[in-house]
């Protein structure tokens, strides 16, 4: 039977692309590995290679067609002894086919600028049973904007610009590099490749190779080099391709960066930022999917920042670069492509160590940070429908932790739920729960519930990965429990 050649997905988020060029004509013979067409996504032009041998019987989608959906048949390949007359026997293109195939998703380590699914958290990790329906736009508004409480750090009336977290991080680094010659960036693929996740896009072009430094794959070594440079007064930004790889370097982070100020009796410290994507992405398995917020928050001598919005990413990264201490800056791959309002100010710097009330409420306090906020925001919508008025606190900084804000809220709502993707034992939520118990016991009307990732390494299988992560339903359930809504 003739074989249909389908429009391939060349990145996990790709849903459609342009068929820019056919490199083979009808009637040409095709061998496996031959490049038959070029397709264009919003990131790159990629080649389509033949998998099967045969003769290109019919081109179904003409060169120049835009917006071709993934898995649409684009051509028909005839095998030995078949002729164009057999084409009818192959299945006609049907949209069901496309829908029936599982669509994996979300941006990858080694990939160009890709936005992730519109709403992070569960939905962004569509699995086999949830075929994708979202367009792979570069800018996706975060939900739900109207509810975000005004940030007291942003003057009223400031003009806001929709910006992705990716752009916000880049802008923060560029602004600080313009401001201070001692700031430089180093890490794997940060310069010529423009960043494995394109966070350092354009920096090499503006600041040159002395200040935007590609390193070999030697995390322990370059983390130490960064700390040494910081001890002499430079202000390195060390990018880890992901924080999973910072485990190679954790000795230099903890033993050198965090402790030098103390051990030298205050003579010298390490004004350094370690940044990069943290936590699970999608389907990248056990070794590439860990949340290190709780790990680093254990260490005196470190500050730990974990922003959710683009505005916080920008304002806090600028603060981290200026901070005279080592700062661990935990980003998230799934948030990179999300778009938020960022104030248009010449120098927008936010205070490290201050939580932000994302939404005011009176019935329950939900505390989270980073990607965890996506669950809080979505759960809140459901809770509102059930008549529960939740207050959401975005910690933004994990260490030092802003207990004043948490305690004030708990004293008002008397109930607390925390959310994070990390492992449950000794989680950030555990620490908050114990402090709230010690400092506001009399205000609590229910035991604190900590919603976490499951106590298992991250599995690869789509169904298990979904189960391993916290869910919006977990959060709703927890809130119902602490509010005694059965």
């Amino acid at each position: 039977m003739p074989i249909e050649i389908l429009m391939p997905a060349l990145s996990p988020t790709m849903e459609e692309g342009n068929l820019s060029k056919w490199l083979k004509n009808e009637g040409d013979s095709v061998a496996p590995g031959d490049v038959i067409a070029e397709i264009e996504t919003d990131k790159a032009t990629m080649e389509v290679e033949a998998v099967d041998e045969g003769t290109l019987g019919k081109i179904l989608i003409a060169a120049g067609t835009e917006g071709v959906k993934v898995n649409t048949p684009i051509a028909v390949l005839l095998q030995d002894g078949e002729s164009a007359g057999d084409i009818g026997s192959s299945k006609p293109p049907s949209s069901e086919d496309a829908a029936a195939s599982p669509v994996a998703n979300v941006d990858k380590e080694d990939k160009a600028t890709v936005s992730s699914a519109g709403d992070a958290g569960e939905k962004a990790r569509r699995s086999t049973d949830e075929p994708s329906s979202q367009a792979d736009n570069t800018k996706v508004p975060a939900t739900p904007k109207a509810e975000v409480a005004a940030d007291p750090d942003i003057p009223a009336g400031t003009e806001m610009v929709a910006t992705t977290v990716r752009e916000a991080l880049r802008d923060a680094m560029a602004e600080e590099m313009r401001r201070d010659q001692d700031v430089f960036v180093m890490g794997e693929e940060v310069a010529e490749y423009q960043g494995a996740y394109k966070i350092t896009q354009g920096l090499l072009q503006e600041f040159g190779p002395q200040r935007v430094v590609d390193t070999p794959i030697t995390e322990h070594g370059f983390a130490g080099v960064g700390v040494g440079a910081a001890m002499s007064g430079l202000k390195p930004i060390v990018e880890f391709m992901t924080f999973n790889f910072a485990m190679q370097a954790i000795d230099q982070i903890v033993n050198s960066a965090a402790k030098t100020l103390y051990m030298s009796g205050g003579q010298m410290g390490a004004p350094i930022v370690f940044r990069g994507p943290n936590g699970a992405a999608a389907r990248v398995g056990a070794q590439h999917s860990q949340d290190y917020a709780a790990w680093y928050s254990h260490i005196p001598g470190l500050k730990v920042v974990q922003p959710y919005t683009a505005a916080d990413a920008k304002g806090l990264l600028k603060a981290a670069i200026r901070d005279p201490n080592p700062v661990i800056f935990l980003e998230n791959e799934i948030l990179y492509g999300q778009s938020f309002d960022v104030p248009k100010l010449d120098d927008f710097v936010l205070p490290i160590g201050k939580a932000r009330i994302h939404k005011q409420g009176k019935d329950v306090t939900i505390v989270s940070a980073g990607i965890g906020m996506t669950y809080a925001v979505k759960a809140e919508l459901e809770l509102r429908e059930m008549g529960i008025d939740a207050e959401i606190i975005d910690l933004r900084t994990i260490r030092p932790l802003d207990f004043d804000t948490i305690l004030a809220s708990v004293k008002k709502t008397n109930r607390l739920v925390t959310i994070e993707e990390g492992f449950p034992q000794n989680s950030v939520g555990d620490h908050i729960a114990s402090q709230v118990m010690q400092r506001a016991f009399d205000y609590l009307d229910a035991p604190v519930i900590t919603v976490c990732g499951k106590d298992v390494p991250m599995p690869y299988a789509a169904n298990l990965e979904k189960l391993a992560l916290p869910s919006v339903a977990d959060v709703v359930e927890a809130v119902k429990t602490v509010t005694y809504r059965g």
Binding site: K108, Y193, I217, A282, R283, V284, Q287, Y460, N463
Partner: protein, 351 residues
């Protein structure tokens, strides 16, 4: 006591080989002459890897495979030739670009493909994925996602071989990029100090993600990376399965006979991007095309066989079809096998 004698400095000095006896740079042995059967077998094995990888790429495009997927296309001669020099009991360990290694170790294509799609029939029950797959039965020790980590692990497998004195050798693969990780050198030192039976195979495919070796490495002759640990090394044409086979035999004999580790730098090339989503803008199309058309490991064998009159185009077509059938069967299995049961979430964490 005996221990006093063993630690006496005079004795230690006498034991040490004079510098002149250490030759860090070895010439690669002449490429092996393969018999008809060997050529045919090498052809089938390499073709299986290539067709399997093409299929994996296709399934990725259709969304059946998620996460990272690193294809081995172009490098087939390395694992195929290495395997020809290995014997029963020898182990293999590598990084995430591991599908070819598993097929070379005679693992079932169905089990490998089903792991790629995250199904219960996969080698890790769908819990590991493309980068993390193992088979105790086939002596394949992974499948590791952290660049460089497998080098210490492979050295540890060799430590156990020596400890048990079972005559096995661990073949430990890593990339040109991984060759810059610190633990590689910590491992080299221990392996040489303790004369561990390990063969380090550096698959120099010229790039680590988007970084060419000249942009990442002060010493780009990777076979020399063991010199300060007294580990000899050689550069091998990793696109020629005959050259790899000879080097493999030499190196395995070296390690098995108690002389300690040895490094084989395989000069090879990956045709595809680093992973599925890498447009590979850091190299020219001509560079890729030149490797494909002038050095392709599979074409080399094919041309030799036709020249020798060992196989007709017809016979090769039959082999192609058989290989394609095996791959198609693995893909069918991998798409229809169910996902793991939800209860598997909590299994295999501790014993």
């Amino acid at each position: 006591m005996a221990t006093a004698a063993r630690t006496s400095p005079a004795k230690a000095k006498a034991d040490a080989k004079p510098d002149t006896q250490f030759r860090g740079t070895l010439e690669a042995p002449q490429p092996a002459t393969l018999s008809k059967e060997q050529e045919l077998s090498a052809y089938k094995h390499m073709l299986l890897i290539r067709r399997f990888e093409e299929k994996a790429g296709q399934l990725y495009g259709m969304g059946f495979i998620g996460g990272f997927c690193h294809l081995y296309i172009g490098q087939e001669a390395v694992v195929t030739g290495m395997k020809l020099g290995m014997r029963e009991g020898d182990q293999m360990i590598t990084a995430y670009r591991d599908h070819g290694h598993m097929l070379a170790m005679d693992m079932d294509p169905r089990g490998v493909m089903a792991e790629l799609t995250g199904r219960r029939g996969g080698y890790s029950k769908g819990k590991g994925g493309s980068m993390h797959m193992f088979s105790k039965e086939n002596k394949f020790y992974g499948g590791h996602g952290i660049v460089g980590a497998q080098v210490s692990l492979g050295t540890g497998l060799a430590f156990a071989n020596k400890y048990r004195n079972d005559g096995s050798v661990c073949v430990t693969y890593f990339g040109d990029g991984a060759a810059n990780q610190g633990q590689v050198y910590e491992s080299f030192n221990m392996a040489s100090l303790w004369k561990l039976p390990v063969v380090y195979v550096i698959e120099n495919n010229r790039y680590a993600m988007g970084t060419s070796v000249t942009r990442s490495s002060a010493e780009t002759v990777f076979s020399q990376r063991g010199v300060s640990f007294r580990i000899p090394g050689m550069q091998v044409d990793g696109m020629d399965v005959r050259a790899v086979k000879s080097a493999s035999e030499y190196a395995l004999e070296h390690a098995r006979s108690g002389q300690g580790p040895i490094i084989l730098e395989m000069q090879t090339y990956r045709y595809r991007g680093h992973s599925m989503s890498d447009p590979a803008k850091y190299r020219s199309k001509d560079e890729v095309q030149k490797m494909r058309s002038e050095h392709d490991p599979i074409e080399q064998v094919k041309n030799r066989m036709i020249e020798q009159g060992w196989a007709s185009e017809e016979e090769l077509k039959t082999i192609d079809k058989d290989v394609r059938d095996v791959v198609a069967d693995s893909a069918d299995f991998a798409q229809t096998d169910p996902e793991p049961d939800a209860s598997e979430l909590y299994t295999d964490i501790l014993l």
